[in-house]
């Protein structure tokens, strides 16, 4: 079974840090767009992760 180790690490990091992220989002006063900043960060990370152009592997 092939699962990318980086992917597993990312899932682990997400699970470990999700409470801290939640705290950061909700307990820092009313900056309503703060969750979107985190979201944008995830988008950038996802873009960074797939920027290597693979051939159509199917």
């Amino acid at each position: 079974m092939y699962i990318n180790r980086a992917l597993l690490l990312a899932v682990g990091v997400f699970l470990v840090f999700s409470p801290a992220m939640g705290e950061w989002i909700f307990n820092q006063g009313i900056v309503w767009h703060r969750p979107y900043q985190l979201w944008l960060l995830i988008v950038v990370a996802a873009y960074w992760n797939q920027r290597t152009r693979y051939p159509d592997e199917l």
């Binding site: 992917l7 995830i42 797939q50 693979y54």
Partner: protein, 994 residues
């Protein structure tokens, strides 16, 4: 400000017509492919996920649970960011096996039409709330726009009528969109482009609402923050904290929805043509959803600030109505309409395909007339199903009487589809799962979902069920929903695992499990088909599909695989069968396709343990190369290295399976045989062209593992020579070998060189004899000269006659010497032809002794020819002479002066055994194995070429005889050597009879 119903309905028709125009233009190619097939179009089409729940329902979620509304998007974002977990493997499966829906995937994995039927029924049931949600959102919006918001919750017949009108319109357009293509697997470019266009419209409308809320209601973004600071009850509500458990459950629910919801599944997998597009979607869709969700909070807050009487879901419409702005109202209406219509169109299309493939066709509820066009009948069936499904959604909607919010409907639908998640995960990650476990888990999960989620929608709480549940589940709000979802999921997964562990999976399930699991390096079995050609495929399939459709499907599969219509290679036929099953799966569903293929194109029974399909494994490994890392990549590199080594070996290598299929054919084989690997790989040995079929076939069947020299007749005069070796190919997995490896060495150049050297050896012999010949001829010539001189003065006629007789005698002697020499030298001139005929052995030995006697410089050994004068052997006289010259010459050289060489012969059965014994120095045992090798000599440099005995060995083999040696014969200073020849016995009568 209000609109008339006619205006609104006309607007809906106009909007959907515009959408259809986009689809039509894209299908016709008027919208260029660089747009319709751009990755961005695919990514935007995935915006179908954001139905009315995303444009309206989430505002209610945000209002009630603050930032937790983001979980709705978070689940999908998580699914796409971590696409490698589920999406990419599923895409691979769907693309390779032409699976277009979740039911297709699970039916394929669990190899049961019942699984497909169960999934389809369950999916239709769980999707009813989602369809009702879309219908309700549009019907409510129409009513609000028509200025009848006060009666929104009364669900008077007028609103039901509006909903029905909308359903009729959307049914027409769903049919127009969804059934333009024959197969569910054909990419519907028009649909993808239209849904992408809708996503853009939705986004634009939401941004209009964002600016209307921020600048129209608050004044600026700064004012929004000031208003929040002034209204702590709102900001506190934003920080509404769900229990961690609840938040994670909701995240899992929406995560599952991203792959289990049929409309998302359809757009992600069935409409994907390039896996790179899905990679783009891993960041593209999260970005799109980020933009789409940005207006939610400001618009919701604007709705709160305005204090309108409408449900918070319709805050966008409230903005327009309060500002009396047609543009803002239209934007809010279009946002909801586009979201709902996209969701309905794609959902019903996907569900219709599932119903057709898993309910109608496998159970033969409706018989397909094989004489008519199957494609047209399927299209009409699909259209009817779309109508029925929208009608079911409408019926559900009016049954609820508008008692539920959009959020509740959405949560029920999402929690229903959550029940399919264990099946999906097991498909990819748990090969031990079986269909009994899946069905058991689904039944329990959906039962709990039905009682805890669906029934409460209608305000019906069955007391016995609730009394079994923990106390907190009865608490109102999101926690109750989350606990109910978690409870059903845990029961579902638990029973699934338990039943799967306690029961056994069928053999078919195990094969499918291997295919589906990500451990794709499992061995595809090379099974043997009963049919021998593509033409037979057509004939067999016509019993199930009708002659015309069967031929069309076989031709289509052949064209896709780039095979010729006359294809008959087993490997190609296996691939053709797999492609046909995949294509039929797209047309009729995997269950029906599987059953047709099993019935019409079965594999031969009893071949389950055939060897692996190495060719297929290689292809898969080659394709998967980019995904290997670490040890796997190292192993793959090793594999490539060994394959290249094997391919580039200067010796031909071919591997043949136990069923006679050619599995390996390296480059040297191509050069030696002139047969290209791609033409022959996967074929049977008996499909090789002559003479290779005969040569390889007889060698494979023969007992001997080695064939040192085989002549291969070429097209012209050119012949080639090969040597063959074979060995069993044992994979170590079974008792019997998995096949045979044959090594083929081209020894033509060696053979030619050997012949040339042998010719040289003969010339050398002639050279050595030349002095003797000169002497032998010189004597009679001197005699003739003397006689001729005397003759000049002779007058007595009697003396003249005697002298003439003497001269004739001398010339006879010369003639005989010359004849012997010519005979010997001719032996090699026609080396390629061997003429076996009865030969008198004793005469041949005499001739040899006579020839050897010409060598004056040789030792004066005594040759004793003790062969029976009647013995006749089957041989080529010239070659036999050459054999004796070499053997007797060697015997003489081995003897000292006055040595003795005896030549004896005896009959032994059908053979004549000839012994040549000398009284020479003998041959040491350690050298005996080498003496027949070319260029091996014990003589002084220059005295021998080392080719004599090699020549003898070669000639004897050509004549069907053999040669061996024994040494020493006795102890003492001259131990002696015996060379033994075996030759077939013959008689002159045989030749005559022949």
């Amino acid at each position: 400000m209000s609109f008339s119903l006619a205006q609104l309905l006309l607007f809906i028709v106009a909007y959907l017509s515009g959408l259809f125009a986009v689809a039509y233009l894209a299908d016709r190619g008027i919208i260029p492919e660089r747009i319709s097939k751009h990755p961005a179009t695919y990514v935007l089409s995935l915006g179908v996920f954001a139905g009315a729940m995303a444009t309206n329902g989430v505002m209610d979620l945000a209002y009630r649970y603050g930032y937790n509304f983001l979980l709705y998007y978070g689940g999908v974002v998580f699914m796409f960011v971590f696409a490698a977990l589920l999406l990419l493997p599923l895409l691979r499966l769907c693309r390779v096996y032409q699976l277009a829906s979740l039911a297709d995937v699970l039916t394929f994995r669990f190899r049961s039409p019942w699984v497909g039927a169960a999934i389809t029924v369950a999916m239709c049931l769980t999707l009813l709330p989602l369809l009702a949600l879309q219908i309700q959102a549009v019907a409510d919006s129409i009513q609000i726009m028509a200025g009848d918001a006060d009666n929104l919750f009364s669900r008077e017949s007028q609103q039901n009528g509006l909903a029905l009108l909308f359903c009729i319109i959307i049914t027409v357009f769903s049919i127009l969109f969804g059934t333009r293509h024959l197969s569910a697997q054909e990419r519907n470019t028009g649909l993808v482009t239209a849904i992408a266009f809708e996503s853009l419209v939705k986004l634009a409308a939401m941004f209009i609402l964002l600016f209307a809320a921020v600048y129209g209601v608050f004044g600026s973004f700064g004012e929004v923050e000031r208003w929040l600071a002034d209204n702590p009850q709102v900001s506190n509500a934003m920080e509404h904290s769900l229990r961690d458990n609840t938040a994670r459950t909701l995240l899992v629910v929406f995560f599952a929805g991203a792959v289990c919801m049929p409309h998302i599944f359809h757009m992600v997998f069935a409409e994907n043509t390039d896996s790179r597009d899905l990679r783009t979607a891993t960041w593209g869709l999260p970005l799109y959803l980020l933009l789409l969700s940005l207006p939610i909070l400001p618009v919701t807050w604007a709705g709160i600030k305005l204090g309108h009487a409408l449900p918070i879901d319709y805050s966008g419409l409230a903005l327009g109505l309060t500002a009396r702005s047609t543009a803002i109202s239209a934007a809010a209406f279009v946002a909801g309409l586009s979201a709902a219509s996209a969701a309905i169109i794609v959902t019903t299309l996907a569900l219709a395909n599932m119903c057709l493939n898993h309910l109608i066709l496998p159970t033969r509820l409706l018989q397909i007339d094989r004489e008519l066009n199957i494609y047209t009948q399927l299209k009409w069936l699909r259209r009817t199903l779309i109508g029925i499904l929208i009608l079911a959604g409408y019926t559900f909607f009016i049954t609820l009487s508008g008692s539920q919010s959009l959020t509740q409907l959405g949560l029920v639908a999402f929690s229903g589809t959550l029940q399919f998640l264990p099946g999906i995960i097991a498909t990819l990650y748990w090969p031990a799962a079986n269909r009994k476990g899946l069905i058991a888990g689904l039944v329990i999960g959906l039962t709990v979902w039905f009682f805890l989620m669906l029934l409460p929608l209608a305000g019906n709480y069955p007391a016995p069920m609730w009394s079994l549940l923990p106390e907190n589940m009865l608490a109102a709000g999101a926690n109750r929903w989350a606990d109910g979802m978690l409870f059903s999921l845990v029961l579902n997964a638990g029973l699934f695992v338990l039943v799967s562990l306690l029961t056994t999976a069928s053999a078919e399930e195990k094969v499918a499990a291997e295919i589906c699991s990500m451990d794709d390096l499992s061995r595809p079995i090379r099974r043997v088909l009963s049919l021998q050609s593509a033409e037979e495929f057509s004939r067999q399939l016509s019993s199930a599909l009708g002659e015309k459709t069967a031929r069309a499907e076989v031709n289509r599969a052949l064209a896709e695989l780039q095979f010729s219509p006359g294809e008959s290679r087993p490997y190609a036929l296996r691939r053709l069968r797999a492609r046909l099953e995949a294509n039929l799966s797209g047309l009729l569903g995997p269950a029906v396709a599987y059953s047709i293929m099993e019935r019409c194109i079965p594999f031969q029974p009893g071949m389950q343990d055939s060897t692996e399909d190495f060719h297929l494994i290689e292809r898969k490994l080659d394709r998967a190369q980019t995904r290997f890392t670490g040890l796997t990549a190292d192993l793959d590199n090793l594999r490539r290295h060994y394959r290249e080594t094997l391919n580039n070996l200067p010796i031909g290598v071919c591997s043949i399976g136990d069923d006679g299929e050619i599995l390996l054919w390296n480059r040297s084989m191509e050069q030696i045989t002139g047969i290209v690997a791609r033409d022959i790989l996967g074929s049977r040995l008996d499909s090789l062209p002559q003479p290779w079929r005969q040569i390889m076939g007889s060698f494979l069947q023969g007992d001997s593992d080695t064939q040192l020299k085989t002549e291969v007749a070429g097209n012209g005069d050119q012949s080639t020579w090969i040597s063959l070796h074979k060995a069993d190919a044992d994979t170590g997995s079974g008792d019997k070998p998995a096949g045979t490896v044959i090594l083929v060495e081209d020894i033509t150049s060696f053979e030619l060189l050997e012949k040339e050297l042998l010719h040289n050896e003969r010339l050398a012999s002639i050279g050595r004899l030349a002095a003797g010949v000169a002497h032998e001829i010189g004597n009679p010539v001197t005699g003739i000269a003397c006689l001729a001189q005397n003759l000049e003065f002779e007058t007595d006629p009697d003396e003249v006659r005697y002298t003439a007789l003497d001269i004739l005698k001398q010339t006879d002697r010369i003639s005989r010497i010359v004849e012997s020499l010519v005979n010997f030298s001719h032996a090699g001139s026609n080396a390629g032809e061997l003429t076996l005929a009865p030969s008198n052995l004793a005469d041949c030995v005499d001739e040899t002794i006579h020839l050897l006697a010409l060598d004056r410089e040789a030792r004066p050994v005594h040759f004793d020819n003790r062969c029976d004068r009647e013995l006749v052997v089957l041989a080529d006289t010239q070659r036999l002479l050459q054999v004796f010259v070499n053997l007797l010459g060697n015997a003489r050289d081995a003897c000292d002066d006055f040595g003795q060489v005896d030549i004896l012969a005896r009959c032994k059965g059908e053979e004549v055994v000839i012994d040549i014994e000398d009284s020479g120095c003998g041959i040491p045992p350690e050298l005996q194995a080498q003496v027949f090798e070319p260029f091996f000599t014990t003589k002084d440099p220059g005295a021998g070429t080392g080719l004599g005995l090699a020549l003898v060995f070669s000639i004897m083999e050509d004549m069907g005889g053999s040669v061996s040696l024994t040494s020493p014969l006795h102890n003492g200073p001259n131990p002696g050597t015996r060379i033994t020849l075996h030759l077939p016995r013959a008689s002159y009568g045989d030749a005559f009879e022949a």
